[in-house]
């Protein structure tokens, strides 16, 4: 059935993309996107990078121009959200009191910033970074000399630290773990970023837990650590991870486990409901496990899976998960995930800011973190996807091409 109405809940990168893939793959019936933000689908990655530094405008963020939705007959309803799913009746109740019937439903509600479990996060000047509105508010605060306190040394925190320095702010990053990027990267990379940011004026408090955020006259004035130290500041960004917006799915009785559980075609346990993007816990065939990936490439892959399954189009080939981050003049590209790793191989010299860290399981590459090293990223990604063993000696030698390291 290619003429049934498809309703997409969520107008982010996943929701906007799946509408486009559905049309590309031949769906002729009505498509409606429901989004709670007041803007058309846009790209979130630049919010902490180019956009925050003022190097990209609002237009540049748009996933597709407004004319796309008109030409493709995709109805977009903004500033509304779904309040309930009636699986039996195949309807969705919306916050404006209306209800919408669906043939297939695609959940793409994404994730929201994990709240900091400390008092004071409601003070003016305390931000999270998830939406364009968040970024707009934060950007207006980052001026020369302003003291920015970033809680969380993950990618969002480090990207904002770099952007904040570019804008002249004084930046401190507080990380609960003893090293940066503790949840997502190896130690070599953590140490490298620590040094690189430090050399550009970012201060770090590692192993530091925030017990409270203090204010004066309703406006943030300091962050207090659990051992009592008080760090005065003007602005706080909380970047301590994201939690999936799965409540609607849960209330509808769909299987959820820190994310809506889907299969390799983005199907939930209801044959007429799909879920894609940051919201989902998805299978990773390369690693024999399920995981919640927060990344644009994963959202796009799942958007293709869902659109292909609905239209009968050929399913996309499985992809190696990948990620990227821009900080200062550094381009970090990551392929794969560091599961079941027994040793690391560093290729190149971190001091030259051009190197790659390979996470190995025996002779197989599980993941590669490549700093200013696109060949290591691209070559590594292919080797990971092919499950092709490599020569460890050759891999460790930057003089040997990435095309020659496989065995």
């Amino acid at each position: 059935m290619s003429d049934q109405r498809i309703v997409i809940l969520g107008a982010g990168h996943a929701g906007g993309s799946v509408a486009a893939f559905l049309r590309q793959y031949g769906h002729t019936g009505p498509i409606a996107i429901i989004g709670d933000e007041p803007v058309l689908p846009y790209q979130r990655p630049p919010l902490s990078k180019a956009w925050l530094k003022g190097e990209a405008g609002e237009d540049d963020l748009q996933l597709r121009p407004p004319s796309f939705y008109e030409e493709a007959s995709v109805e977009v309803r903004l500033g509304v959200r779904a309040t309930a799913i009636d699986r039996e009746a195949h309807t969705v109740a919306l916050s404006d009191g209306s209800s919408l019937a669906y043939g297939k439903l695609i959940l793409a509600m994404g994730a929201r910033a994990r709240p900091l479990p400390a008092p004071g996060t409601d003070l003016a000047g305390v931000y999270v970074l998830r939406t364009a509105a968040d970024a707009e508010a934060l950007k207006s605060e980052l001026t020369p000399g302003r003291r920015l306190m970033i809680v969380g040394g993950g990618y969002v925190g480090l990207e904002v630290a770099a952007s904040g320095r570019a804008l002249g702010a004084e930046v401190t990053v507080i990380e609960r773990e003893p090293r940066l990027l503790a949840r997502v990267a190896g130690e070599a990379l953590s140490g490298f970023f620590h040094g690189y940011h430090g050399a550009r004026g970012v201060r770090f408090v590692l192993g530091g837990s925030v017990s409270a955020i203090e204010g004066e006259g309703g406006k943030v004035s300091a962050v207090v650590l659990d051992h009592g130290e008080r760090l005065p500041c003007d602005v706080v960004l909380v970047g301590v991870g994201a939690i999936p917006n799965q409540e609607l799915a849960q209330a509808a009785g769909l299987a959820c486990q820190d994310g809506v559980v889907v299969d390799g075609q983005a199907r939930t346990d209801d044959p007429d409901i799909y879920a894609i993007g940051d919201l989902t816990r998805r299978p990773l065939p390369l690693y024999n496990r399920a995981f919640r990936l927060e990344s644009v490439p994963s959202a796009l892959e799942q958007a293709k899976q869902a659109a292909a399954d609905i239209t009968g189009f050929k399913p996309p080939p499985p992809e190696v998960p990948w990620f990227w981050s821009d900080q200062y003049d550094l381009k970090l590209q990551i392929a794969g995930l560091p599961f079941d790793v027994d040793h690391l191989i560093v290729r190149g010299d971190p001091l030259s800011a051009k190197f790659a860290v390979f996470h190995m399981s025996g002779d197989l590459i599980q993941a590669v973190e490549a700093v200013n090293s696109p060949a290591e990223f691209m070559g590594g990604r292919l080797l990971i996807g092919a499950r092709r063993p490599v020569s460890r000696e050759k891999l460790a030698d930057p003089a040997i091409s990435m095309k020659e390291v496989g065995v």
Partner: protein
Amino acid sequence: MAKITYIEHGGTEHSVDVRNGLSVMEGAIKNNVPGIDADCGGACACATCHVYVDDAWREKTGSASAMEESMLDFAQNVEPNSRLSCQIRVTDALDGLIVRLPEDQH
């Protein structure tokens, strides 16, 4: 402003006006030209905005940076006139540019 012609793998042509300062990739996205995925949005991180630059335009579009070269080196179906379209900035000098799109960006 430059008029750019994007030719899909199947032969369909799209001639559109692209303002200076945008990339050739952005020109395609903003004009609903299919066939350029641009998964990373222009960060030179993914090689899914691969195009073949018409031979007459290779000099004017300049040469690829080392970063772009390395990305292209591992992309599919690469030819001597392959470029990542997010790395080509539009100027008046590119008025009339013709690029061809590969069958698939992945």
